[in-house]
């Protein structure tokens, strides 16, 4: 304890860092789940309606694609501010974990949807044709061919999205969403307590590293070619 005090003289409440860690994990978990829930169908829609795909619908594709691109091109910090009324309408607050989740999901779902679209495009055209020849319906092709065949790419997409979300949650700290980013911003930046900065950054690095390792493991397990 003494050593910790020497190394990090400004940190008097380690419990606060622990709570911030948990907050970050909660924001990450909640937003990742919702991002997948929204982004996966959106990605499937983008894939199916694309040119030369199973249900080409140029107009629907163009609109969805434009919407996705708009949401992706707004920097997350701006997106959060712009979305504040929407956030308030959805969850009744602009602050804390709850206030952070809507912008996180709205920021990450379009990103994940693109990754899903790309992963699905990697599925061999011949396999899809074979299942059509076997009399598979569109839903059966999506459920039993596209998603299982693309699962390596899909898990890779989830990993990349989760890591992007860690970055987003940290940014959320700037406007009062809590978590590690909030600590780093308030103590590390605004109060010049650079030991706070160091610890939170280290924790974020460890978190990202763990996510990447976990993701890589799952991808290797499912990539059977």
């Amino acid at each position: 304890m003494n050593m910790l005090q020497t190394l990090f003289p400004n940190i008097d409440d380690w419990g606060e860092i622990g709570r911030a860690c948990i907050d970050t994990l909660l924001m990450l978990g909640g937003s990742l789940a919702l991002t997948i829930l929204i982004g996966l169908p959106l990605g499937v829609l983008l894939y199916l309606t694309g040119k030369g795909q199973l249900r080409p619908m140029p107009k629907l594709y163009a609109i969805t694609s434009l919407l996705v691109n708009i949401l992706r091109s707004v920097p997350f910090i701006i997106l959060m501010i712009v979305l504040m009324p929407v956030t308030y309408f959805l969850v009744g607050t602009k602050l804390g974990i709850r206030g952070a989740i809507p912008p996180l999901v709205i920021g990450a779902a379009p990103f994940f949807a693109r990754l899903v679209e790309t992963a699905l495009r990697e599925v061999q055209q011949g396999v899809i044709e074979a299942s059509q020849a076997m009399g598979a319906s569109l839903w059966q092709i999506v459920r039993h061919v596209l998603l299982p065949e693309a699962r390596g790419g899909l898990f890779a997409g989830v990993t990349v999205t989760a890591i992007a979300l860690v970055g987003y949650t940290a940014m959320g700290g700037a406007i009062g969403s809590g978590g590690l980013g909030d600590l780093a911003y308030r103590y590390g930046y605004l109060s010049y307590k650079s030991d706070y900065m160091l610890v939170t950054v280290a924790l974020l690095v460890v978190l990202v590293q763990l996510l990447q390792m976990l993701g890589d493991r799952i991808v290797t397990r499912y990539k059977r070619r």
Binding site: A130, S131, A133, V145, R225
Partner: protein, 336 residues
């Protein structure tokens, strides 16, 4: 019976119609092995895909049995497709599923949920294609020939009446090709399945097909019994395919027989006549002399055949030819 009536197909590319198949009519009988041979780009992939409507015709009607395929609504079409198996050049297996699950896949698509029923049928099919020990492997762990056998087992899962083979042996080495063709022939014999196959190799047609259509630039230029087309090719494209299968014949066609005395004749023996000593007998009886310039004896599917190019001389040549025709041997006089 598969019946095409005035069917044609063109693709729309950059606002222009590019014809892929010229109008054609064709009947494929129940239980036969029908080959479609053509160079790449001739339209054979399109033609075979018209049967299960993976490609829609631009005009004409297609019957499979009594069902007019072109007018079917989506659910009825899917039901029909389950009655038509298909195998592919690149196998198109699900990489994420085991061999057993790949074979069970079409049955699951058709709504079969009973695990015991699925297992029994999968075992039966894997035994038929000789892959029982590989049931729990993944496609990536198999050789090309084994993958195609999985493809065949999968295509047979829903007990189809028709099997479509899309260049099924083109990615395989010669030995594997032979064993896969043997399996197809066996399936045709034992299950009375109609097989339609497309290929660019005349040898594939010779080994397994009953009838063949030759496709050249979107047109069926010749069709008929394999023995007829093979022994007496009419169209230039057909001749090219036949000559590829019989390189020595090709050489003889080109060889200058100017130096050889006598009349140059090509004799074709089919079936039983191949096995009778007709040539020797006729030569003795008519006192002619003959000199064999080129020849081959082989099988077309189960039919033994022989084809000899001869130079024949002597007073009795006409009588000899008559006697040979009498014995059921086909004779062509080759111009020089």
């Amino acid at each position: 019976m598969i019946r095409f009536v005035d069917v044609h197909k063109s693709y729309r590319v950059d606002g222009r119609d590019i014809p892929a198949l010229q109008p054609f009519s064709l009947d494929i009988a129940d239980g036969e092995v029908f080959g479609i041979i053509g160079l790449s780009g001739a339209g054979k992939s399109t033609l075979i895909r018209l049967i299960n409507l993976l490609e829609r015709p631009s005009g004409g009607v297609i019957f499979v049995g009594d069902t007019e395929m072109t007018t079917l609504a989506e659910p009825a079409l899917r039901a029909q497709r389950r009655r038509i198996g298909m195998i592919f050049q690149h196998f198109n297996l699900l990489a994420s599923q085991t061999v057993a699950d790949n074979v069970a896949f079409p049955m699951r698509l058709a709504g079969e949920r009973n695990a015991a029923v699925l297992r029994t049928r999968v075992n039966e099919l894997l035994a038929r294609v000789g892959l029982t020990v590989h049931a729990d492997k993944y496609p990536s762990q198999l050789s090309g020939g084994q993958k195609q056998r999985v493809g065949i087992a999968r295509a047979l899962a829903n007990r189809p009446s028709i099997l479509l083979c899309d260049e099924a042996t083109s990615a395989l080495d010669p030995q594997t090709t032979a064993s896969v063709l043997e399996l197809l022939a066996e399936i045709n014999r034992e299950l009375k399945l109609t097989i339609v196959l497309i290929t660019h190799e005349m040898d594939v047609v010779r080994r397994v097909c009953d009838r063949v259509a030759v496709l050249d630039a979107g047109m069926i230029v010749e069709h008929g019994a394999v023995a007829d087309v093979f022994l007496h090719p009419q169209h230039a494209t057909t001749r090219r395919f036949v000559n590829e299968a019989l390189p020595e014949e090709a050489a003889s066609e080109l060889a200058p027989f100017a130096q050889v005395p006598g009349r140059i004749l090509r004799l074709s023996f089919r079936g039983d006549t191949t096995l009778t000593p007709a040539l020797g007998r006729v030569a003795r009886e008519t006192g002619i002399d003959f000199n064999i310039l080129a020849g081959r004896i082989d099988r077309i599917k189960d039919l033994p055949y022989g084809q000899l190019t001869l130079a024949m001389q002597g007073a009795g040549v006409d009588a000899a030819l008559a006697a040979l025709r009498e014995a059921g041997i086909e004779i062509e006089e080759l111009s020089r």
